[in-house]
Point group: D2
Chain length 89, copies 4
Amino acid sequence: MADKGRYLARLKRIEGQARGIHRMVDEDVYCIDILTQISALTSALEGVALALLDDHLRHCVVGAATRGGPEAEEKLREASAAIARLVKS
Amino acid sequence: MADKGRYLARLKRIEGQARGIHRMVDEDVYCIDILTQISALTSALEGVALALLDDHLRHCVVGAATRGGPEAEEKLREASAAIARLVKS
Amino acid sequence: MADKGRYLARLKRIEGQARGIHRMVDEDVYCIDILTQISALTSALEGVALALLDDHLRHCVVGAATRGGPEAEEKLREASAAIARLVKS
Amino acid sequence: MADKGRYLARLKRIEGQARGIHRMVDEDVYCIDILTQISALTSALEGVALALLDDHLRHCVVGAATRGGPEAEEKLREASAAIARLVKS
């Protein structure tokens, strides 16, 4: 993983955002404001996922592709399946 | 809010999922498995957002619509903007 | 429907975009450029869908809500299901 | 491109779906039914995009990666940007 510290910091913020949304519901904050925060959290998650995917393509997939053989095929299959899940979630 | 307790329980689970993803990165778990968990968390968030939106339409938007006047227009504008953010996030 | 002419013009453009992508594939245009056009077409479709949904909320859902009764419940259920399909597609 | 004929057939169907939605609007079909067709069209487009992306990873990106050098870096950058556009559209 390229910059583990940065991922950990981003995920710590995401955890805080999730806690914040829990508190908003608990304090009966107006629904639209809660929905705004959920969209912001979803976008933050997407950002982390896209960065992880880029890392994975650069290191795991390209590494396996350079070595060739069945491992390369498996890495490509996995990467495409992960991209499909992201696009559809 | 229709069933606040259920929302709070779902958001507590989402917070736990976020913490779990942080731990996966910290323990250098394989990227694809982390991406799978991020997609699951994104879907869980979507579920909460769609339920909140349904509640909002039923109570706030319909309530304002029945009373009519500028408040109804504002509620409709807000709801459509929230839907757009959800669709695009 | 608020402005039918505008919807028809937007959908005619979308049809043209789809035909354009077909031609790009036929002429072996570089994949990334085709993917860029597919994302543009998807965004154009989302725009039409969000406008239709806003119209639907303002006219069909609010109309039924003002009249009350089972029809209002059905309109709300339908609207939320349509929003869910949009968010998940 | 792996199976150009299949892509062309899928895109021809997508063009037909777009034409069908235009006709539904023209004939004042109920909004919810039009929205259902738009979601179906969006999913069909996503399917084509994901297949193209898989092809692109397997042929263009892996090919460049095996040859190494700046071309590989450019292909990876392009692929990640295309994935981001798909996820966010």
